[in-house]
């Protein structure tokens, strides 16, 4: 049932209408040129408040979510989102703060943002931070734009290439192109590390920078990172850190120490802000001192004299790459991230990296013990790891997708499937630190059960899911017989 099916065409006497309408009528529009007035129907359904509440409450229950299910979605860091963080962001003083409010009416917000900048610096080991990017991908954009600005500022205009590993997340190459770069891919070795020799062969005077995720999307730490950094720097390139996997090393190692020049952090992953079924996120960028002049604004500064906080002015950032959003990005997400960081403190930050890693390695070992094939069996897991079902795909015709759908039947969200593209029939599994040992053990049990089903009742697996609001959906039909808005 769509909300449009509940449309009564004429409005029931709703909450907002009773007096808001009163006294308003077409006469009030007399000053608007007739040609510009709307004649056509708005087409927004007229539904009673109860029906709206019931419709969307019932819809919500068709979602898996952290609050209801274990959600080991690799690369997404689906950890517990503390309730208090949301409550903090919704405090009237914050929720009602206008983005252009006067600085005297904004000291609470600004102080908080100032401290968050410092926290992200401390956690990443970078010299300066801008909070404005609105998700990881925009952080990447800001980072590459700064790399470009850096080279241009030095008159170095030949650098037209960004190097990325073949395993990189799709946003990496897409961002490079948005920044006007050509993408050069470098392969990854069988052990998950970047092929440094191959990389060395392609980097040079045209290299603007290298983008790396570390731990990488293979779920392994890039062991030769220092060498990589040295080589890229040697040819005049810069190093970009995709922070999607920061959770693995939070408090245990810092991209700034590894030689990265510019980084982003996905607060909606590492800093536990809710993902909202597809955002909002937040992707602050951090830079080494050399890139600081190029940071996107606004940045919060403290006036040493008055101890007051304010936004940086355009004059203070003459080399800035500019504005990335109308105001200051997803400020409400930043507040939530701050709340989370304050709950953690220094020791807590460290425990995140430790337990994320412990959970992943434990789960990897247990799944391997079941006979599930690891993509990188010789390696430690970071906060996540890859398994591959290529054998079962061959033998039973059961794909990683079939298995993922079957997992849903047991009330566990599927890991990330078919990413990175390099590993056939793979799952990228990330349990996060907030899941208990019991939950991990239950996952292992369920996997054992599904493995048995693969042998005994393969059609049960291929036809999954069976216990969800809908069965396997037809993607092909969706793209062919496009129905993307009700007409």
């Amino acid at each position: 049932m769509l909300i449009f099916d509940l449309d009564q065409q004429t409005k029931p006497v709703g909450a907002l209408c009773a007096t808001t309408v009163a006294g308003c009528d077409a006469e009030a529009l007399a000053d608007v040129p007739e040609a510009q007035r709307r004649q056509s129907d708005l087409g927004i359904p007229e539904v009673s408040e109860l029906q709206v509440v019931r419709h969307f409450t019932m819809l919500s229950r068709k979602n898996f979510s952290i609050d209801t299910h274990f959600y080991p979605l690799g690369s997404c860091t689906m950890k517990y989102n503390p309730r208090i963080a949301h409550k903090v962001a919704m405090l009237p003083g914050f929720a009602e703060r206008h983005p252009l409010a006067a600085m005297v009416n904004s000291q609470g917000f600004l102080e908080t943002m100032y401290e968050l900048q410092a926290i992200i610096q401390a956690v990443t080991g970078m010299s300066a931070v801008s909070l404005t990017p609105m998700a990881g991908a925009q952080g990447e954009f800001a980072g590459l734009r700064m790399i470009r600005a850096y080279h241009e500022a030095r008159g170095d205009r030949e650098r037209t290439e960004i190097v990325v590993p073949t395993t990189a997340h799709g946003t990496n190459p897409a961002t490079a192109v948005m920044c006007g770069y050509r993408v050069v891919e470098v392969p990854v070795l069988a052990d998950g590390d970047v092929d440094v020799d191959a990389m060395s062969a392609v980097i040079g005077p045209r290299t603007a920078g290298l983008m790396l995720t570390n731990p990488s999307t293979c779920g392994t730490f890039e062991r030769r990172i220092q060498e990589i950094a040295a080589r890229v720097h040697a040819v005049g390139g810069l190093l970009y850190y995709d922070g999607a996997n920061l959770n693995a090393i939070m408090g245990k190692a810092r991209p700034g120490d590894m030689g990265f020049d510019v980084i982003h952090v996905n607060l909606h992953k590492t800093f536990a802000t809710p993902h909202g079924g597809g955002g909002p996120g937040s992707g602050p960028v951090g830079v080494a001192a050399s890139l600081q002049p190029f940071l996107p604004g606004p940045i919060v500064v403290r006036d040493a004299a008055t101890n007051e906080y304010r936004f940086s002015t355009a004059e203070e950032l003459p080399q800035s790459i500019g504005r990335l959003s109308t105001f200051m990005g997803n400020a409400g997400v930043l507040l939530r991230a701050y709340a989370y960081a304050r709950l953690l403190g220094g020791a807590g930050v460290r425990r995140v990296g430790e337990f994320a890693t412990l959970n992943a390695n434990y789960l990897m070992k247990k799944l391997a013990d079941l006979g599930i094939e690891l993509a990188y069996p010789t390696r430690r897991a970071s906060h996540e790891f890859i398994v591959t079902f290529r054998k079962s795909a061959k033998r039973h015709g059961i794909t990683a997708m079939d298995l993922a759908k079957r997992l849903l039947d047991y009330g566990i969200h599927a890991p990330t499937t078919y990413f990175p593209l390099l590993v056939p029939e793979c799952w990228l599994i990330e349990p996060t630190e907030t899941e208990s040992l019991d939950t991990l053990d239950r996952f292992v049990e369920v996997m054992a059960q599904i493995l048995r089903e693969m042998e005994a009742t393969p059609d049960l697996v291929k036809g999954a899911p069976h216990h969800l609001p809908v069965g396997r959906l037809d993607d092909v039909k969706a793209a062919r017989d496009l129905d993307i808005a009700l007409v």
Binding site: L16, V32, F56, N63, T68, K79, N105, A122, I225, A479
Partner: protein, 473 residues
């Protein structure tokens, strides 16, 4: 408090399973020199109670009494049901709906959202959101360049009266791809885009200016003025340019939808969705919306939800047309956008559903009416006049004060009143902008609020005038 559920026994058991003595051993692939051994210099941990107290105190500092500040972020009333439902864990703590069967809630909501946006704008296609209004405009510009098969190298004409922060954001986001943005001045009297300026653009001096690839039209414009987009749209289309509309969604309850502009309608429609149920929240999270004609659909950035069926023919929803997106197309994607503003879209869908057409229209009417009342209050103060003339406005306009608007705002902010935006901050190039104050009303303002504001403004103006006199003397 890292929300780690493990007990010491759990850790012991897990380490034993792994055959390592301590957690640190699991980090042995990290070169030793890179390992951090001390806790990082993060502010000291607070328990939830202390954090709450601290944040309450900070938030309290930022509360204001009365605001007439708009300029792209509008304080509308959000029905209580919106965030009660949006805040349900099932919506709030889900990821992007990659596993369609386990995400029918979010997917269906987004499909409903897409439908509502199509109807509101009069377009055929809507995506599932972009980050915000400004970045949505940038994406629209990039999309127009991709979509304009015949003319990829012309400039994109952006009138001066498009939100300055949108224009700045576009500069940042499109320049790297070699797209040129050409600013078209607006009429100094009305603040509107004038045909004159467009013609002047085409023929400055002897050379003919390059034919534009796209033309942006903001309705209403940054000054609240209502443009005549029909003429502009036709002018652009005659030149083979793509028409990009930037609209305030609330205004669409009253104004002609972009799909009906001119002879053929706008090609791409973007805007800031904040007014549809998102709190002001210091500028975000909001969401950018984007709609287009069917013809341009495959150039659209961002996610799109489609309706399909399952094996037994039941309706269901999935991410579709993914071949445009970065996770499939990588370097060839229409955009790098991945995570967008899903929860905000859920809020907007709830908001629109609760209001319905009637409610939306009455909110818009009330906003409009209030501004007229405000104007009449303010103009009782000697020296206060409209800054622009000859343009109808929607819920926002520029006042001309007899003294510095910046100074008046500073005075009023001391007593917790946000008077509006001093025009000079963003339009120093407009003569007299020092005296311009952009003010905005919404349905939340009561007559009493308008009275209070009128009085406070008058007082601040006279105080400023006498101070200025004193310092002159």
């Amino acid at each position: 408090m890292p929300f780690v559920p493990h007990t010491d026994q759990d850790c012991a058991r897990m380490l034993e399973t792994l055959g390592v003595a301590c957690v640190d051993a699991l980090f042995d692939e990290i070169p030793e020199a890179l390992r951090v051994s001390e806790p990082l210099d993060v502010l000291p941990a607070l328990d939830e109670m202390s954090l709450w107290r601290l944040m309450q105190e900070r938030a309290e500092k930022d509360r204001i009494k009365l605001s007439f500040l708009g300029a792209g972020a509008y304080e509308h009333y959000i029905p209580a049901a919106v965030w009660d439902i949006v805040g349900r864990g099932e919506f709030m703590t889900a990821y992007t709906p990659y596993q369609a069967e386990a995400s029918q809630g979010t997917l269906q909501v987004t499909y409903e959202f897409q439908t509502m946006m199509c109807r509101l704008t009069g377009m055929a296609v809507s995506n599932a959101s972009l980050y915000d209004g400004a970045s949505a405009l940038a994406e629209a510009i990039l999309m127009s360049v991709r979509a304009n098969r015949k003319n990829k190298t012309g400039p994109v004409l952006v009138p001066e009266n498009v939100h300055p922060f949108y224009r700045q954001t576009c500069e940042t986001l499109v320049r790297a791809q070699g797209v040129v943005l050409e600013t078209i001045p607006c009429d100094r009297r009305s603040g509107l885009i004038s045909m004159d300026h467009l013609q002047r653009y085409e023929q400055h001096g002897d050379e003919k200016a390059p034919v534009p690839t796209a033309v942006v039209i903001s309705q209403p414009n940054f000054f609240g003025g209502i443009e005549n987009p029909d003429a502009l749209t036709d002018w652009a289309h005659e030149r083979g340019a793509i028409v990009i509309a930037v609209v305030n969604p609330i205004s669409l309850a009253l104004l002609k939808p972009p799909g009906e502009w001119g002879k053929a309608g706008a090609d791409i429609v973007v805007g800031e969705g904040q007014a549809l149920g998102m709190p002001l929240s210091s500028g975000g999270p909001y969401f950018g919306f984007m709609c287009s004609t069917k013809a341009l659909m495959r150039q659209m950035p961002g996610r799109i939800i489609g309706r399909t069926v399952d094996q037994s023919g039941r309706h269901g929803f999935v991410l579709t047309l993914q071949a445009r997106e970065q996770h499939i197309r990588r370097a060839k994607a229409t955009s790098n956008i991945c995570t967008n503003q899903g929860l905000a879209v859920t809020a907007a869908t709830l908001y629109m559903s609760l209001l319905g057409s009637t409610g939306l229209r009455s909110v818009a009417l009330r906003c409009h009416q209030r501004l007229k009342e405000l104007l009449s209050f303010c103009q009782t103060t000697p020296g206060v006049t409209p800054f622009f003339t000859g343009a109808a406005v929607f819920h926002e306009t520029v006042l001309r004060l007899p003294v510095s608007a910046e100074a008046v705002c500073a005075r009023l902010s001391q007593s917790g009143i946000l008077a509006g935006l001093p025009l000079q901050q963003l339009y120093p190039q407009i003569p007299g902008s020092e005296f311009g104050l952009l003010v905005c009303t919404t349905e939340k303002h009561t007559s009493e609020d308008l009275h209070r504001f009128g009085a406070a403004l008058a007082q601040a103006i006279s105080a400023q005038a006498s101070d200025a006199q004193a310092s002159d003397a």
